[in-house]
Amino acid sequence: MMTQQIIFIVISFLTLLMAWVVVTNRNLFHAALALMGSFLGVAGLYVLLEAGFLAAAQLLVYIGAISILIIFAIMMTRRLMQTTETPFNSQWALGGVTALVLFAVIVFVILQVWPWQPGAEPFGAAPEVPEAVLQGSVVQLGRALVDVNQYVLPFEVTSVLLLAALIGAIVVAWPERKE
C-alpha cells in the first residue's frame, strides 16, 4: 500500500500547488492553465479511488469544456499578452466568508470519521475493490441515475437546467429581426 500513499501525496500536493498558482499568479492565462492542472490532479484522485468514470468525466467536462471556455473568454476580452491583473477585486470579503464556511464544512465532515478506527483503511489508501464490483460499476451508476428510488429527480432537474441554458444560448445568439 506504500506506493498508493506516495502517489496520493504527490497528486494532492500538485493539486494544491496548482490551486495556489491560480489565485496568486497575475497572468490570467497562466492562472487558467494552472486551474487545468488542478482539475487534472482531482481526476488523478478519482483514479486512485477506482472511480474511473468520474475521472474521465472530470477530464471531459472540466478540462475539455469548462477550461477551454474560460481560456476563450480570457483571450476574447483581454489584451492578449499583457494580461496581468491584480489578484484582488471588490468581492474579496464575500469570497473570504465563503471560503471560511466551506472550510468549516470540510472540517465538520472530517471530524465525523476522525479518529481512524483501528483496522480501518490506512491514511491515503483507497479501499480494495474486487474486480467484479468494478466491472459492474458503470452499469450501476447508469441505473442509479434513472432509478425512481435513487437519483432520477436530481437527474431530471439537471437536464431541465441544461436545456434552459441551451435555449438561453440560442436566444442570446439569435439575430434580431428587423421590424
Binding site: T3, F29, H30, L33, M36, G52, F53, A55, A56, A57, L59, L60, I63, G64, A65, S67, I68, I71, F72, M75, L80, M81, L134, Q135, S137, V138
Partner: protein, 416 residues
Amino acid sequence: MSFNILEFLRSLVTLTTFDYLRDIWADNMSVETIEFLLDLIGVFTVSTFLLLIVLFLIWLERKVVARIQDRVGPNRVGGRFGLLQTVADVLKLLTKESLMPAGADRLAYNLAPLLTVMAALLMWAVIPFAPDVIGVDLNIGLFYILAVSSASVVTLLLAGWGSNNKYALLGAFRAVAQLVSYEVPMVISLLIPILLARSMYMQELVGAQTVPFFIVAPVSAIIFFISALAETGRTPFDLLEAESEIVAGFHVEYTGMKFGMFFLAEFISTLFMSALFATVFLGGWRFFGLERLETFGRLIGLVVFFIKMFAVYFVFIWIRGTFPRVRVDQMLDLNWKFLVPLSLILLLVVAVVDKLIPVGAGPYFRAGVHLVSNLVVGFSALEILRRRAVREREAHESRLTEATEARDELVVEGAH
C-alpha cells in the same frame, strides 16, 4: 524456470511474451515489480512502434496520393520506391535551427508539441490489438478515449497563445472551434455501438460483433467516419491549415522538430481513428473464429486487426486524394444542421428498436432489424436534404427570372 532463447522466440510469435516473462521472473521478483516492469515494456513497445510507423505512414500517403493524381511521388531516396524519403525528411527537420519567436511564452510554447504527442499516444492504451492483447481493459474504455481526445484540444490553445502571433492565435481558435463542434456527433455516434454491445469495455465491444457494427449500424459508422475526418483535420476538412490559401494555423511559429512533432501527432491520431473505426465498427481482431485458434490465434487476430486498420487508413488517404476542401460555413452547416440532428435521431431510433426486439432473438435477426431501421433513417435524411436543395434551387431560379424580367422592363422603358 530459466531463460531459453527458443522458448522466448516462440512466445514472441504467439504473442504470449508477457506470460512467459511472468513465469521466468516469478522466482526472484515480487508480483508488483513484475507487473510494473511489464507495464513499462508494454508502454515502451507500443509508443516506439507508433512513433516509427509514422515514417511509413507519411511515405504511404505521399505515394498513394501521387498515384491518385497521376504522379510518381517520392522515387529517389532509398531505391525505386523512395522508401527512405521520410527518413531524409526527418533528418532535415532534426538538423534545422530551433527558433523561438520574440515575446513567446516560454512554458506554453515548448510544452505544446510535447503534450500533443503525449495525448495522441495516450489513447492507444485501450486499443485491443488481438484477443487479450490490450494495454488496459478499462471499464470505461471508449469513454476514456473521448475524455483524452477532448482534453487534448487544450494543447492547440497552448501552441497558438504561446507563439505570441495573432495568426497562430486565430489558427488555434479556428482549430478548437472545429474540433469541439465535431466532437458532438462523434460522441453520439459512438454511443450507438456502446448501446448495441451494452458495454464500454473495448474487448467486449469487439466480442459483441458477431455481425460487425458497420453492417448493424451503417449510418452511425458513416457519421463517426466523417467526424473522425474533421477531428484529425484531414481533407475535406483541412481548412484549418489550408496550405494553398491561408497561413498554416496554430503551428505557424514552430520550426524544426517542434513543428515535426505536431505532424507526428496528426499522423498518430489519424492512424488511431482508423484503429478505433476498425475496433468499434469492423469487429477489431475478429475473423470468422480463426482468432480463437489454440496457438496462433493471437497472431492471426493481430494480422486481421492491422489489415482492417490499414484498410480504413487507405480510405482516409483516398478521400484526401479525391475530395475538394469545404468552405468554413459548409463545414459548420454540415455539423450542426446535419450530423448532430441525424445522430441524435439515430440514437433515439436505435435505442427504441433495440428495446422492441424480443429478448430471445438471435444476433442475425437483431442485426437485420437494426440495419433496416438505420437505412430508413439514413435515406429519409437524404431525401429531406434533397427536397430542401430542390426548393432552394427553385427559389434561386425564380429570383433570377424576376431580376431578368425587371431588367428587361427597364431596358424597354429606356428605349422609349
